[in-house]
């Protein structure tokens, strides 16, 4: 048998950088890295030069100057004397509020539409198909503009609510009236909803760097407690079911536990609603929800819901008919089948694309620009940028914030997704 002679250990040669699998990837990566660094340096150098020629500097100091403009919807205290940074915060909160409400609404509508599209009811299924196709194939911008126009064109002016003395004498009703037991007024400027007020509010505690509203805190604590107790009840019900086979009726206990303490706390604190009331030009009191906000939320929710509906439909269709037939054959009722068999499986299919829809919606809130909703783009990337002329800083900061939000959402949802997936397999 011929024996191959020992191949001598070769020493390092330059060509090995390219031809040796061990070094090759390192070579390429170093090369790429150098290119990237050069590119970055080029960008930074250009930027520095450009800033210099324009006599500007890269500096975020302007964030602490007086903003000087007003924001219609500010969920934290804000006046035109506040800083640009505070305006940024207000904008960010506005963005998040739209995104959160939009996501919730879109999910609800999307699930309902997705399920209804599978309905045997021809009319309903057809309507839903029309809805989905309409919304998916027309730009979001159009829906935002349209819902804004519809909202402000089809609602009455505040003065239409006014009852003048003559009208009262003649017994005439005003042209428009409030809805929901006279607590909500929808005018063409926005929706006035009642705001909660407390006779015996707990005030707020000043922690130095920030102040905490104790009333809110109390509510949070109570609700958290109720939820915890409710979970205990459900767990004990399950334990009992496992032990005896009979699942005790829990819905009334749950309702009691979930709502009782909150109601009690409200009574104790003397909660009452401040109903909006027509005074002067406008409804006063209560909370004004501007139409720019409502329109943005509605358009975003309806648009995204059309996509979610398709996702849900596909998810349910992905579960074969055999699964529900097997469940029926075992004697499970349709409701139980949905809960125990179809949904847990469908969710696994649905959640990943759902995440990207949530991300899209969040990014699309920036289209609030079309209705001048003062979100992050409207404040930081709009008025602040315009007043200070610091486009470089403002734009970079804005992108950074959006990026952070996106990454957080996808991280959270991926985490949730992984828990769902692990349970299944």
């Amino acid at each position: 048998m011929a024996v191959a002679s020992d191949v001598p250990k070769e020493s390092f040669r330059l060509s090995m950088l390219i031809y040796d699998t061990r070094y090759r990837s390192v070579t390429i990566q170093v090369f790429v890295l150098i290119l990237f660094a050069l590119f970055l340096a080029w960008l930074l150098n250009n930027t520095a030069n450009n800033l210099a020629t324009r006599g500007k500097e890269f500096n975020f100091g302007f964030l602490w100057q007086r903003a000087g403009y007003d924001i219609g919807q500010a969920l934290i205290p804000y006046t035109n004397d506040s800083t640009h940074f505070r305006a940024l915060l207000v904008g960010l909160i506005n963005t998040l509020v739209v995104a959160i409400i939009g996501c919730v609404l879109a999910t609800v509508i999307g699930v309902v539409v997705g399920v209804l599209r599978l309905s045997k009811n021809w009319l309903v299924a057809g309507l839903m198909t029309v809805y989905v196709e309409m919304f998916r194939n027309v730009p979001l911008l159009l829906w935002i503009l349209l819902s804004y126009v519809i909202l402000s064109e089809t609602t009455p002016q505040p003065r239409d609510f006014r009852v003048t003395d003559e009208m009262a004498a003649a017994g005439e009703a005003p042209a428009a009236s409030m809805i929901l037991w006279d607590s909500v007024a929808v005018t063409n400027r926005g929706t006035n909803i009642p705001s909660p007020l407390f006779d015996r509010g707990l005030g707020s505690a000043d922690l130095g760097f920030m102040s905490v509203n104790l009333t809110t805190l109390a509510y949070i604590l109570v609700i958290a407690g109720s939820v915890w107790v409710n979970r205990r009840i459900l767990a004990s019900a399950r334990a009992q079911q496992e032990a005896t086979g009979d699942r005790p009726v829990t819905w009334w206990k749950s309702i009691l536990v979930l709502f009782g303490p909150v109601i009690a706390l409200s009574v104790a604190l003397g909660l009452h609603l401040e109903i909006p009331e027509l005074r002067g030009f406008n409804f006063q009191g209560g909370i004004l929800v501007a139409h720019s906000f409502t329109a943005l939320v509605i358009a975003l929710a309806l648009y995204t819901a059309a996509f979610i509906a398709e996702i849900v439909r596909a998810g349910i269709l992905a579960i074969s008919r055999g699964q529900s037939e097997a469940a029926f054959a075992l004697g499970l009722r349709p409701g139980r089948t949905m809960n125990l068999i179809i949904l847990p499986q469908a969710l696994r299919v649905i959640i990943p694309p759902l995440i990207s829809q949530y991300l899209n919606l969040t990014k699309n809130t920036s289209l609030g620009i079309a209705v001048s909703y003062l979100d992050l783009r409207g404040t930081l990337g709009g008025i602040t940028l315009n007043q200070t002329g610091r486009e470089l800083e403002c734009m970079l900061l804005m992108m950074l914030i959006y990026l952070t939000i996106s990454l957080i959402i996808s991280a959270l949802m991926n985490f949730y997704n992984s828990t769902v997936q692990i349970k299944a397999r």
Partner: protein, 317 residues
């Protein structure tokens, strides 16, 4: 590189304009830009090239306008931009003249029963974002210690829609804009513009800081139109005046004596060409926004100084 050279090399002037503002600058059905600001651009093109059509209009938004100018994307910005201290200094821009003296006002429906802006306590006010308007508004209400609810809107036509639909009690913008809006409303008589003018809004052409010759060209082209009005030179009679005039300043203006145009790198007939292209300031005003047009603005502050207005051209010598 000097802007003038760049413009000449390119063979056309690039003028930053509005994305569409009635009377001041908007393209018509065949794509021709018309308007008060637009005519100044054309005059400038005529001054440089002797041809008023050698101008291109780049629509800019409130956010993009100054950047477009700074980056050289446009040569000059003529789109009702207010001259303020910080824009003049921090943004490294030069406002070379004021072609329209404006001020922020309020419009309300007459049946609102309001006759002064100070009675607007608690009112909803429509404003466009991205301008100086919102700062003035905030200052005004704060000074008078009254409250208001701002409704921000994206553009002028949207603001007008909101106002007409009653989504706001008052609409605030530059008085010229208010007048223009009011003129186009089906029931103009039912709307009143309140007496308070709460700000100074000198609107004018803007150029980049540092190119003084270019600034001079823009400034003096504009002044040429003013002087023309002062001297009664019109689009129609400019040739005739040129042959007949004895006025030394007119001669200089029309390039018949001296070398005014050459001094700033243009032709001697530059100003004459500008006037011949668009007419004098008064004509431009009358044709686009003045009384008799649908917008129907009075000259007011923009009348010549000789007629009690603020428009005043330094001597051309």
């Amino acid at each position: 590189q000097a802007t003038l050279e760049a413009v000449k090399a390119r063979g056309e002037l690039i003028c930053g304009s509005n994305t569409g503002l009635t009377g001041f600058g908007a393209p018509d059905a065949s794509g021709n830009w018309t308007g008060f600001d637009v005519d100044l651009c054309r005059a400038l093109a005529a001054a440089i090239f002797g041809d008023a059509t050698k101008v291109r209009f780049v629509p800019t938004t409130g956010e993009t306008r100054f950047t477009a100018l700074q980056s050289g994307e446009v040569d000059v910005l003529i789109r009702n931009s207010t001259w303020t201290y910080s824009r003049d200094t921090e943004l490294a821009l030069d406002f070379v003249a004021v072609n329209y003296y404006d001020g922020q006002g309020f419009m309300v429906k007459s049946d609102l029963g309001v006759s002064s802006a100070k009675e607007l306590d608690g009112a909803t006010v429509c404003i466009q974002t991205g301008t100086t308007t919102e700062l003035n508004l905030a200052d005004f209400f704060k000074q008078n210690n009254i409250s208001y609810q701002p409704v921000t809107v994206a553009d002028d036509s949207e603001a007008q829609r909101q106002y007409l639909a009653g989504a706001c009690d008052a609409y605030t913008t530059d008085a010229s804009g208010l007048a223009a809006s009011r003129a186009t409303m089906p029931d103009a008589a039912n709307h009143i513009i309140l007496p308070e003018i709460i700000s100074k809004e000198p609107l004018g052409p803007v150029v980049r800081h540092g190119d003084n010759n270019w600034g001079d060209i823009v400034r003096w082209t504009y002044y040429a139109l003013l002087i023309a009005e002062e001297k009664g030179i019109t689009k129609a009679n400019v040739e005739e005046v040129a042959t007949s005039t004895a006025d030394e300043e007119v001669k200089r203006l029309l390039g018949l004596s001296g070398d005014m145009g050459v001094k700033i790198g243009l032709d001697n007939a530059a100003f004459k060409n500008a006037i011949a292209a668009v007419g004098n300031y008064g004509e431009v005003f009358a044709a686009n926004i003045g009384e008799g047009t649908a917008i129907n603005l009075a000259r007011g502050l923009n009348a010549l100084w000789t007629q009690g207005g603020l428009q005043y051209a330094p001597p051309l010598r």
